[in-house]
């Protein structure tokens, strides 16, 4: 256990330069985008005097040279200060904090569903390759894999909100009702279904295919023959040995896809009006609210790093041959 703690600690330390590199790269990328926050604010107003834009720019500290801005930013981040969103008139950390929970909820639900359903369907499909279950699963995965996310979201809205009227079209809760307690939880769950399903479709397809392939591969291994010779039932072999080994590529994939998941949530949150980080990032990009955008990048980077550490730890739990080192 002690060894494991040391491992986590070391990985966290390794994460710091990664995050710093991400900050610097993002900073310059954002600076390459033409236009700045002051112009956008003035532009949205439909009219503004030169003095107005100049005052804004001074206030936003956009009048300083870029290296100075970068140095100031990195220094602030190192002291865990993400700065101030001049556009929104509040601190970046409070904005992100209020949006982080909805995003984690959405991503967690989508990922959870994709993993569970992906594993179950993948296992079912691998049971009899070429059988009708397998056929069904491969058509399903092809569909889920190839649908553009925003389109899938809109189609789900058309079918399940407008036609069947099962789920609300958008938002995280019925805002005019101001529910509390369990009714609020249920209300949020009801709003969560369609966006989480939309976000999960791609990963569902991915995990299904991966699981099916891994199961088929593992079932041909020598240890399966050994287990069978030992007298284990087919069910025991499948769940205890084959599935356990087949899970490893899935877990690797979760780590790799984490960044993509953050990207996918931008689209899903925008389509469903889900009040998360993705939508905030989308809005602040078009407003050139760089402080806020950088803050979101930093938090996303941390999220990805943390998930990858979790993935590494999960490896060692599932497969004792892998050492946390």
């Amino acid at each position: 256990m002690n060894e494991r703690l040391r491992f986590i600690w070391r990985r966290l330390l390794q994460g710091i330069p990664t995050i710093l590199l991400i900050i610097i790269a993002c900073f310059f990328l954002l600076k390459l985008a033409p236009g700045d926050a002051a112009e956008v604010l003035a532009g949205e107003s439909g009219a503004a005097t030169k003095e107005y834009v100049d005052t804004l720019r001074t206030k936003f500290q956009l009048d300083k040279p870029v290296p100075v801005q970068l140095a100031a930013y990195v220094k602030n981040v190192l002291t865990l200060d993400l700065g101030y969103s001049f556009r929104q008139g509040t601190s970046v950390s409070s904005l992100i904090a209020s949006r982080l929970v909805p995003t984690l909820l959405l991503m967690g639900a989508a990922l959870g569903f994709a993993i569970v359903a992906g594993i179950v369907l993948g296992m079912a499909a691998s049971n009899r390759p070429g059988g009708w279950v397998d056929q069904f699963v491969s058509v399903l995965s092809l569909l889920a894999y190839s649908m553009p996310m925003f389109w899938a979201g809109l189609m789900l809205i058309v079918v399940f909100s407008l036609r069947l009227e099962w789920f609300p079209t958008s938002g995280m809760e019925e805002v005019a009702m101001f529910h509390e307690g369990w009714t609020r939880v249920l209300d949020i769950a009801e709003h969560l279904v369609l966006p989480a399903l939309t976000l999960s479709l791609f990963y569902l397809a991915l995990f299904m295919r991966l699981m099916r392939a891994a199961m088929l591969e593992q079932r041909g291994m020598d240890y399966v023959v050994t287990a069978r010779a030992k007298g284990l039932t087919e069910r025991q072999i499948l769940t205890r040995h084959v599935a356990r080994n087949a899970l490893l590529p899935i877990i690797t994939m979760i780590g790799i896809q984490m960044g993509n998941l953050v990207g996918g949530s931008v689209i899903v949150e925008t389509v469903f009006g889900w009040p998360g980080l993705g939508q905030l990032a989308f809005d602040s990009l078009f407003a050139r609210d760089l402080n806020l955008l950088m803050g979101i990048f930093v938090v996303s980077a941390v999220l990805v790093v943390v998930v990858n550490i979790l993935v590494d730890i999960t490896y060692t739990l599932i497969d004792p041959r892998i050492k946390a080192a």
Partner: protein
């Protein structure tokens, strides 16, 4: 007997008609209005931003000295009466008595003085122009405010709505930084609705102000304003009834006919009479061949404006005839007299003739010249406008390329770098040309780096003089004549092509009543809006 019956009938009819009329218009109190605001406002500081969503939220909370009817005549609001002095250099406002801010403090002339002199004149994007000649606001007593002007400024009387010039509480703002004052995002005003909470990314909640100075109003108990970033989802939310009201073209024009077909949703073009949006093409006259007025005029003719209005804006608007919006007809400033007829049947031939005269002959491929049109990225309508114009201009041998970039990039290209041939945009002309129109043509408005001002590079001493004189002219007849002259001069110059007047569309479900009762449309206070149960 017979006589009595005959006499009785009209009376009976009249009574029942009256009853019917009463039943049809009796406002019901109570209920929550769920509306969508697009996009989410960056701030609620209406006194320093004129952005549409800020206006939509802020006007429920803050009020102005005046309201306006659909002919743009001033109506009492926080000022119950007013007099303009003979020389036009002082305007006296008599304020309503007993008006309280949402925190319980009384609204007085000191608030008027503070708002106009310290806030709007100094940091409101348009107020800095509108109140340029305002020298002082005198407050002889708490209910009288006297505006002292260096020159007559007739346009001020059209700029005092709650949207354009919101009155803010002096006691909460005096001596603070307007940018960082927490009241910016927790607004306190005198309006019919109180700010309750802003849950970023989700909604803003406003509750009825029970102490509102208009007795019995507002009718709504609550307004919840939701933010839905995706246009298709907004449409679905209206269709499903999750949202009852979507203004300022939050629903794309292309969806309006389908939505209103189901008889549960209505759409109106009313409520644009103060903003007066117009679709323009602005030409960079410092670049060839747009330095030649004949080329500019040719492009103004070579299109079918009726087609554009019907097929791109789905009938919400009408062809433009000149630099002023036709809703200014009521003020007498707008004219078609002596203006070119852009709808002439031979307009394409005429455009080709003008291009010939400008010496731009078609080459072997039939192309006279090429240029790029930078479309303002406000949605699919603008792309379609570009695609139509591409075809229309091809008819007269002009090859046009389209460029569609994101908003900050577009702003920088057009207004900071002047790196464009031509661009298309929407201009809010406002209730008076001084506030919304001069900026496109005046030499003093060619300010590099300032957005939505004269980016064409064109001006002339003659038009500058007309605008300067009209700004301070207090005789309405003379002022009209000046603007009529100005319109003809600008048409001859052709630095801006006026495509069409645009009506921002308001879509609402049937249960929402008095949804568009003011020329401010979605930016009215909603004090008269109600919901039928």
């Amino acid at each position: 007997m017979t006589v009595g019956l005959v006499r009785a009938i009209p009376k009976w009819i009249a009574t029942s008609l009256l009853l019917l009329a009463a039943a049809a218009t009796a406002q019901e109190s109570g209920g929550t209005l769920r509306m969508v605001v697009q996009p989410e406002p960056p701030t609620l500081a209406l006194y320093r931003s004129t952005a549409n969503p800020v206006g939509v939220v802020g006007t429920k909370i803050y009020e102005g000295l005046l309201d306006y009817d659909f002919s743009l005549n001033p109506q009492p609001a926080l000022a119950q009466s007013w007099t303009v002095a003979e020389d036009g250099k002082s305007i006296t406002f008599h304020l309503q008595k007993g008006v309280k801010f949402h925190d319980g403090k009384e609204f007085t002339s000191a608030d008027v003085q503070f708002t106009l002199m310290e806030v709007l004149k100094k940091s409101h994007p348009r107020g800095q122009i509108t109140f340029r000649d305002l020298q002082a606001v005198e407050t002889p007593d708490p209910y009288t405010a006297v505006l002292k002007l260096a020159h007559p400024a007739p346009y001020i009387m059209r700029a005092l709505s709650g949207y354009e010039s919101p009155m803010i509480p002096k006691h909460l703002f005096q001596g603070t930084d307007l940018q960082t004052n927490p009241m910016a995002n927790k607004p306190v005003g005198t309006g019919p609705f109180k700010f309750v909470e802003w849950n970023r990314g989700q909604y803003i909640r406003l509750d009825k102000n029970p102490d509102y100075w208009k007795k019995g109003q507002p009718y709504l108990d609550r307004i919840v304003m939701r933010f839905i970033g995706d246009a298709a989802t907004r449409v679905a939310a209206v269709e499903r009834g999750e949202v009852q009201y979507a203004g300022v073209s939050a629903v794309p024009y292309i969806e309006v006919p389908r939505l209103t077909k189901g008889k549960k949703v209505q759409a109106t073009a009313k409520g644009n009479e103060i903003l007066n949006p117009m679709v323009d093409i602005e030409l960079n006259t410092t670049r060839k061949p747009f330095d030649n007025p004949k080329v500019r005029q040719a492009l103004a003719y070579a299109m079918d404006r009726d087609f554009i209005v019907e097929n791109i804006w789905y009938g919400f608007g009408k062809p433009a005839t000149g630099p002023l919006h036709s809703s200014l007809k009521a003020t007498g400033l707008y004219t078609t007299e002596g203006m070119p007829d852009y709808a002439r049947p031979d307009r394409f031939e005429y455009a080709a003739k003008l291009l010939d005269e400008a010496g731009l002959k078609p080459n072997a491929d039939g192309v006279r010249f090429e240029f790029t049109l930078d479309l303002i990225p406000l949605g699919q309508e603008w792309r379609r406008l570009g695609e139509y114009l591409q075809q229309a201009y091809a008819k007269v041998g002009v090859k046009m390329h389209l460029r569609y970039e994101d908003f900050p990039t577009w702003l920088r290209r057009v207004f900071v770098n002047y790196d464009f041939d031509a661009m298309t945009t929407q201009t809010f002309h406002q209730a008076d040309p001084v506030i919304g129109t001069h900026r496109l043509y005046h030499s003093g408005s060619i300010i590099k780096g300032t957005v939505f001002v004269n980016c064409t590079g064109w001006s002339s001493p003659e038009t500058d003089r007309l605008m300067d004189e009209a700004t301070v002219e207090k005789d309405p007849a003379k002022r009209r004549a000046m603007y009529h002259e100005l319109q003809r001069e600008l048409a001859a110059a052709g630095s801006v092509i006026w495509v069409n007047e645009l009506s921002l569309v308001t879509v609402y479900r049937n249960e929402v009543k008095d949804a568009a009762y003011s020329p401010l449309g979605t930016m009215s206070s909603f004090d008269r809006t109600w919901i039928a149960k």
